[in-house]
């Protein structure tokens, strides 16, 4: 009867754990996949002895090694959710196994389910390493082994101490879980003073800190870096845009941006980048939240967020400014977790391939060839393996790279874009970015100068946005009919402009908002430019 009851409880426990696992999988797979993909992109796991041995230079080498190894699988569609779910199920199994030695089934199961849920929430953190979860599993495993020892108290205490010392060395902060459980075990077995030797393990972070060179707090909590986190679905949308852009799915980026319509500089950045890739930048520009010019190029400063730094290379890469793109990419690399990002290394390889810097490209390709996920990607980009399509892509990108050398400050976007257009006046992406940049910063004179220099000579009629801006300039300068005609302006837009002007003079803001909300005139008069620091 007892056995049957136990079997039944076990079955219920397994069923609950599996149900928990299914919920966990569904959440990460359908609500949080891009976060996981992003986490993989922020590391570069190399199958190379020197790299693997470097794990010994930090605490928790085994947890870190396993965690980073497993994080690679986040790269594959579904891989992240499966990996996290399985890891957390292992945590439940290991935790239950060790807690069961201290508590009866239901409390042990409840405790570990709560811990796993807490751990699942922490795994929604963008910089939370999977190695912290592995460290926790390791801690429970050490405790389980210690609590299973059938030894007399004194030898048991010393064997357990040894386990704790090894536990800290290989699982870092997981050792504190083991310490807690072993002490609980001692209390349950009539605590004797000799058990205080367990606390000797607390000396280890102090002793090993000069070797690991980490601040004291890190020495105690490595590899864990946060205690609590909740899912950030807003950030997930940003990652969705970022990652789909990296995959070249620009329609998807635009769709996501429009679907969520966030007042967020990074979202606008991707909206504009996708519009430009789809050849619709001026057409789409004012249909979306625009934080001044900072939605076109993310400003880099010491106050910039890591995500802005990480994303910033893409616009520069797209318009063809390899110096600025490389600069942003290196910054992304520098500020990524452990200063190794697969995404940034890929971009560095591409930049140097386009620039014809073969040896530099070779360095990055060699690194990528030593990874699980990017080996093929790198091999296909070796000069001897490049496809015709890839060769054509390189030629197209090279056409936009400037051969006219000038110096410009980090955030001097206008000088950079003008330089690109001086080199290649047919660079439409650079032209639209320049003209839109001038318009978003409300620099009408700058816009007209650049329009006259880089767009007017093409002889085509301006699009609606540019027409609206040109009309402001023409009206301001009391231009004559000849000047109007010279720009081949759409007559209906000219009529709209006078209608707008009448409403504006009447201060009829309601009608202006209703009829002209998406016009440049409305933006020019009413938009307040925010200084974006991302």
């Amino acid at each position: 009867m007892v056995n049957r009851g136990m079997i039944k409880s076990r079955k219920i426990g397994i069923a609950v754990a599996l149900l928990w696992g299914i919920i966990c999988f569904l959440f990460f797979q359908f609500f949080y996949p891009y976060h996981l993909f992003h986490r993989e992109q922020m590391q570069l796991f190399l199958f190379e002895p020197g790299y693997l041995f470097s794990y010994f230079n930090k605490p928790a080498w085994l947890a870190s090694l396993l965690g980073d190894f497993l994080t690679q699988f986040f790269y594959y569609i579904g891989g992240g959710a499966v990996t996290i779910t399985l890891t957390l199920l292992v945590l439940i199994a290991t935790g239950f196994w060790s807690l069961k030695k201290l508590f009866s089934g239901l409390p042990a199961f409840t405790i570990i389910l709560l811990i796993a849920s807490w751990e699942a929430l922490r795994n929604t953190g963008v910089v939370y390493p999977l190695s912290a979860t592995v460290a926790l599993i390791g801690g429970f495993a050490i405790a389980g082994i210690g609590l299973s020892l059938k030894l007399k108290q004194t030898p048991r205490v010393f064997v357990n101490l040894l386990l704790l010392l090894i536990g800290y060395w290989i699982f870092g902060y997981g050792a504190w879980v083991a310490l807690l459980l072993l002490l609980t075990g001692e209390f349950k077995n009539h605590f004797k003073i000799i058990s205080v030797v367990y606390f000797a393990v607390l000396i280890l972070p102090f002793l090993l800190r000069p070797h690991y060179l980490v601040p004291l707090r890190d020495a105690f909590q490595y590899p864990m870096n946060l205690f609590w986190n909740t899912p950030d679905l807003h950030e997930e949308e940003i990652f969705a845009m970022s990652i789909e852009s990296d995959r070249g799915n620009w329609d998807e980026v635009l769709k996501t941006a429009r679907k969520y319509d966030q007042n967020d500089q990074n979202a606008t950045y991707y909206y504009n980048l996708a519009s430009s890739h789809l050849n619709q930048l001026p057409e789409n520009l004012l249909d979306y939240y625009q934080p001044g010019e900072y939605g076109l190029f993310l400003k880099l400063s010491y106050r910039s967020s890591f995500l802005s730094i990480l994303f910033s290379n893409q616009a520069w890469f797209w318009v063809g400014d390899l110096t600025m793109s490389e600069h942003s990419t290196v910054l992304g690399q520098i500020f990524s977790y452990n200063q190794r990002s697969s995404r940034m290394v890929k971009r560095m390889a591409e930049i140097n391939l386009i620039a014809g810097e073969e040896k530099a490209a070779d360095k990055y390709l060699t690194m990528l060839e030593h990874t699980l996920c990017y080996r093929k990607w790198a091999q296909n980009r070796r000069p001897e393996n490049q496809s015709e399509a890839f060769k054509k892509w390189i030629i197209r990108k090279r056409l936009n790279c400037s051969s006219v050398d000038t110096l410009r400050a980090n955030n001097d976007v206008v000088a950079s874009l003008r330089n690109l257009l001086d080199h290649n006046p047919t660079n439409k992406a650079a032209r639209d970015y320049l003209l839109c940049f001038q318009l978003l910063s409300k620099n009408i004179d700058g816009f007209v100068a650049d329009y006259n220099a880089y767009a007017k000579p093409l002889g085509t009629a301006p699009c609606e946005l540019y027409t609206q801006a040109l009309l402001i300039s023409l009206a301001r300068n009391n231009a004559g009919p000849k000047e109007y005609l010279a720009y081949k302006l759409d007559k209906s837009l000219v009529d709209d402009f006078w209608k707008y002007t009448e409403l504006y003079k009447k201060r009829d803001s309601k009608s202006l908002g209703e009829e002209f909300k998406s016009s440049y005139w409305f933006y020019y008069h009413f938009a307040t430019i925010k200084v974006g620091e991302g």
Partner: protein, 483 residues
């Protein structure tokens, strides 16, 4: 049963033989093997760590025979050749000699023996330690930085400072006075930062900027006595080239020279070294401590005139008794007649040579591909353009060994992006020889690093502090103020 065991034994033997193939009937070719690092026909000191290398062509098996004056050793591997350090030291103990290295490779089931190359061993030892800053080639931005001290005789590394322990503050490079490990400094920025001065093992944290200076003390050098330091104070502006290959230009919108008396925390200067009509930078003391060499250029509106901004090398007297500067300035190297711009001056400890970098223009040559080292003979005025030393990319940030027979410099020759420490021998005739990169235990190490070796500096011993001392001084030591 016995028969079966015998068959098994034969099979195991055959398996072992097939695993350990040795060169047989090797085809000889008249070319050197393709190896990295390029250690072909280089001159090395007798106290260098093993010159481990790897074949860059795919080889299934490689056998290397290294024959010295009093012995030889054979090392094998797939592509990597890692020489046992004990046997290497025994081989080099024979003193001055020419070592012959023969590489035989198994590729496409065929053994090929390449033309042997040589390692010329010189008994002039190089200083035993080199320190450098490990930093991403990220232009002006940092996140994690380490100052590292590496033994040249072994592969041991020691971290001298790690900004992970000092709230991510920026750290400039570690500079020795006269290759003396008991005399060195580096600047540490950030709220608790300062110039860390190591004199006889005593660490001090000093704010080397007083209210008359235009900026912090930047590039500098210590007097052989340890009492004085000479620094430039620079307002540094980084700007970007639109041409990707040139990347970054760093120039000074203003720069002056100062001398700091560390015994009295006092700053000395001279009106003509702190005016706005000229830029002054990269000062160093002469070997005897009685002169200061520095770079100087007339003021130009920048960045518009950057390509005509050229620095000459000047010398001025220095009185080591009271720390005062002379009044007459000698031009040692004239940028107008030499058609270049000089920077990063280093005098050899024997006082015979001045090693410096020459670029086409400007004051920050690390992204200038044309930036090369040149050596001025201070006795004859002769300039050596160091043809055998310079590579296709930037070669700069150099430092002499205390016997003046070796120098180390940071070179981007391998890929244009990441600087690595290269060493060159200067013989008794003043001729510099083909350089070699700092050997690593794993010759592939450089391929998987994402950090540059920044400003390598040689020292005769280990410095008397480590990263934990620097953490302590950063957090706990009160800063001294110069006036």
């Amino acid at each position: 049963m016995k028969k079966r065991l015998m068959i098994l034994g034969v099979l195991v033997l055959l398996f072992l033989i097939s695993c350990k193939q040795s060169p047989q009937n090797a085809k000889t070719v008249d070319t050197f093997p393709a190896i990295y690092p390029d250690y072909i026909n280089v001159t090395i000191p007798e106290n260098i760590a093993p010159l481990n290398f790897m074949l860059t062509d795919s080889a299934k098996n490689t056998v290397v025979t290294i024959e010295g004056k009093e012995g030889s050793l054979t090392v094998s591997g797939e592509q990597k050749i890692q020489i046992p350090i004990k046997k290497w030291k025994e081989l080099l103990a024979a003193g001055e000699q020419t070592i012959s290295v023969t590489v035989t490779c198994l590729t496409n089931e065929e053994w090929t023996q390449y033309k042997p190359f040589s390692w010329t061993v010189k008994p002039d030892e190089i200083d035993g330690f080199v320190s450098y800053r490990l930093i991403e080639p990220g232009y002006e931005v940092w996140n994690k930085i380490q100052l590292v001290e590496r033994s040249i005789e072994t592969f041991d590394e020691r971290v001298l400072a790690d900004n992970n322990l000092t709230k991510n503050s920026c750290m400039n490079c570690h500079i020795y006075g006269n290759n003396n490990p008991e005399l060195s400094f580096f600047h540490m920025r950030g709220p608790n930062g300062g110039t860390i001065l190591n004199r006889d093992g005593e660490l001090r944290k000093i704010n080397t900027r007083n209210n008359k200076m235009i900026a912090n003390a930047t590039y500098g050098n210590l007097h052989p006595s340890g009492r004085f330091g000479v620094f430039s104070s620079n307002i540094v502006i980084p700007e970007f080239h639109s041409s990707q290959s040139k990347r970054l230009e760093v120039y000074d919108s203003a720069s002056d020279l100062i001398v700091i008396d560390f015994d009295n925390d006092k700053v000395n200067t001279h009106p003509f070294l702190s005016d706005t009509a000229t830029f002054e930078t990269f000062p160093v003391f002469s070997a005897d401590g009685k002169s200061i060499y520095y770079c100087s250029a007339p003021y130009k509106p920048l960045p518009d005139s950057i390509k005509s901004l050229r620095y000459s090398i000047h010398r001025i007297d220095f009185d080591p008794e009271n720390g005062t500067l002379g009044t007459e300035v000698d031009t040692v190297w004239n940028s107008e007649t030499q058609h270049g711009s000089a920077c990063h001056l280093k005098t050899s400890p024997d006082g015979k040579h001045l090693l410096f970098t020459v670029a086409n223009y400007g004051t920050f040559p690390i992204w200038h591909r044309e930036a090369d080292l040149q050596m001025l003979n201070l006795q004859t005025g002769e300039i050596d353009i160091l043809k055998d030393v310079n590579g296709p990319n930037s070669d700069t940030y150099h430092s002499w060994s205390s016997n003046s027979r070796w120098f180390v410099f940071a070179s981007k020759r391998d890929n244009g992006l990441y600087g690595k420490p290269y060493f060159s021998y200067v013989d008794e005739n003043g001729k510099a020889h083909k350089p070699f990169v700092l050997p690593q235990k794993d010759p592939e190490k450089y391929d998987f690093m994402l950090k540059s070796f920044n400003i390598p500096e040689l020292s005769t011993g280990q410095v008397p502090f480590d990263a934990m001392d620097i953490e302590k001084i950063y957090n706990d030591t009160k800063i001294e103020q110069v006036h």
